[in-house]
């Protein structure tokens, strides 16, 4: 069964006709050639396909593209318009927060979304008293980023990069 949808991807309006079975991840990668979100597990377990949809971080492998009609999608590529790196991207480079890099676009989108959530007062499971003013220490960073796996095990530097980005004002 075919369906027609429009998406705004990294600032560009895109129209496409696709099979209703197509996930948002496949629509981005295979139909639109947007390769920043990566296909890891394709079951919502690894976070490599994370993007920002309407400003919130989501996995794209478990959403049907047809259900996302009209969405505004920002991928890791869209976080660097004109090649100017987002502070979170710069921090990942500064701290060597990757090895193979496959999970990195998802890690970066997840970090940006996570910082927006913290700013909006969302607590995490490790936030004392469910306070809306969580202090984003290492334990908070680890808990909030637990949906992004890194099979190279670059976690130590990922946490350092996020800590640095927060210190440099990346917290929106």
């Amino acid at each position: 069964m075919k369906a027609s949808i429009t998406l705004q991807v990294d600032g560009r309006q895109r129209s496409l006709s696709l099979d209703t079975r197509t996930t948002l991840l496949d629509a981005l990668r295979e139909h639109l050639g947007v390769k920043a979100p990566k296909k890891g597990c394709d079951h919502g377990q690894c976070g490599a396909c994370t993007v920002l949809m309407d400003g919130r971080r989501v996995t794209t492998c478990l959403s049907l593209a047809v259900a996302c009609d009209g969405a505004i999608v920002t991928t890791a590529e869209g976080l660097a318009p004109g090649g100017r790196l987002h502070p979170v991207q710069q921090a990942f480079l500064d701290h060597d927060a990757l090895q193979c890099g496959y999970c990195t676009p998802g890690q970066i989108c997840s970090t940006v979304g996570m910082l927006e959530e913290a700013k909006a007062g969302h607590p995490s499971f490790v936030t004392q008293g469910l306070s809306p003013q969580a202090n984003l220490n290492d334990s908070e960073i680890r808990e909030r980023m637990s949906g992004n796996l890194c099979r190279c095990g670059a976690y130590v530097n990922i946490v350092a990069a996020i800590r640095d980005a927060i210190g440099k004002g990346a917290m929106p």
Binding site: D19, T20, G44, S63, S110, A120, H122
Partner: protein
């Protein structure tokens, strides 16, 4: 994935009529479990009716202090809500203990209740499973059953319900509001999920075509003193081996009110009525907590690989009650 028609619902009653009329039609919410099942071949709907854009996204305070949570409220928004955090902290904590930040931004209240077991045999279409294919047999009973049930299981199925949120809702005496062809009905959440018995393919009391529109929390002062503890194989982003939701009110050194539910032990969130009965009016002491935990687990029937869950459940409950007594959450 099998081909399917897709329709976006603009009206809840019309969506109910559409799905009711087609035996192989389903509602789509956040998709985090259903789309995965469609890809795995566990679900093969011919018609998908997307209810994610229905106006069911509000959290409302009702007269008298109850709270009505729209079926489409995202798990992340529910966990962060100010009323939920202050009046029902056990619910916020249970939500935040589940899945990941990305998934909680997609997953809905109704979808969380309706998610299906993560039993590895259920999710593998190449092996027998009475839940997936009634009558084919249970691969878990003699198989790898470390994660499986110790309470309320049957010879047909030993799977556990995976939700954290539902465990908190069971402790809080929440009500599920459902829309069907004959109108609305209200189901206590503790009666919403079923034990497997001889029909493990039926996990809830919902009829085909019935749509969850809301979940209601009663005004419940004891819920202010509540918490959710979850024991799992890694510190975050894993399903529970054992979890406990509890609320405890102590007055003059005695238990004035108490609510307890377990996760990870049964085919449904396990409301611990025996433990509660043992505690009501009892001295708020370690001995009372030990006795209550033992009473609830007395009928536990562990499988080959999950006997550890019996002491783990007892200890987790005792620790949580001890911490609630001391005012630690």
């Amino acid at each position: 994935m099998s081909p399917f028609e897709y329709e976006r619902a603009t009206d809840a009653s019309a969506a109910v009529a559409r799905v009711s009329a087609r035996p192989n039609a389903v509602f789509l919410g956040g998709g985090t479990n259903l789309v995965d099942h469609m890809r795995l071949g566990i679900a093969r709907p011919e018609l998908v009716v997307d209810v994610s854009r229905l106006p069911l996204r509000a959290i409302e305070r009702l007269p008298g202090g109850a709270v009505r949570i729209g079926a489409g409220v995202r798990n992340s928004d529910l966990a962060a809500d100010g009323t939920i955090r202050s009046q029902y902290p056990v619910l916020s904590q249970a939500l935040l203990a589940g899945a990941s930040g990305q998934l909680r931004n997609l997953a809905t209240t109704a979808g969380n209740l309706l998610q299906r077991t993560r039993c590895a045999y259920f999710q593998d279409v190449t092996v027998p499973c009475n839940k997936r294919e009634p009558g084919s047999g249970c691969s878990a009973i003699e198989g790898h059953n470390r994660d499986h049930a110790i309470l309320g299981a049957s010879q047909q199925c030993v799977a556990v319900h995976p939700s954290d949120m539902a465990v908190a809702l069971a402790a809080l005496d929440a009500t599920v509001v459902v829309l069907g062809r004959q109108g609305e009905r209200r189901i206590p959440v503790v009666e919403f999920h079923r034990l497997p018995g001889s029909s493990p393919q039926r996990e809830t009391v919902l009829e085909h075509g019935e749509l969850i529109t809301a979940v209601e929390l009663p005004a419940l002062p004891v819920a202010q003193h509540s918490a959710y503890y979850k024991v799992r194989d890694r510190a975050s982003y894993a399903f529970a081996l054992v979890s406990v939701a509890a609320a405890l009110q102590i007055s003059d050194g005695r238990v004035a009110d108490v609510r307890i539910a377990f996760g990870g032990l049964a085919h449904k969130p396990w409301r611990a009525v025996r433990a509660e009965a043992s505690l009501r009016g009892a001295p708020a002491t370690e001995e009372s907590y030990r006795r209550a935990a033992a009473a609830e687990l007395a009928d536990a029937r562990p499988l080959k690989h999950n006997a550890f869950k019996v002491p783990m459940a007892r200890n987790t409950l005792q620790m949580l009650l001890r911490h609630l007594t001391a005012g630690v959450r």
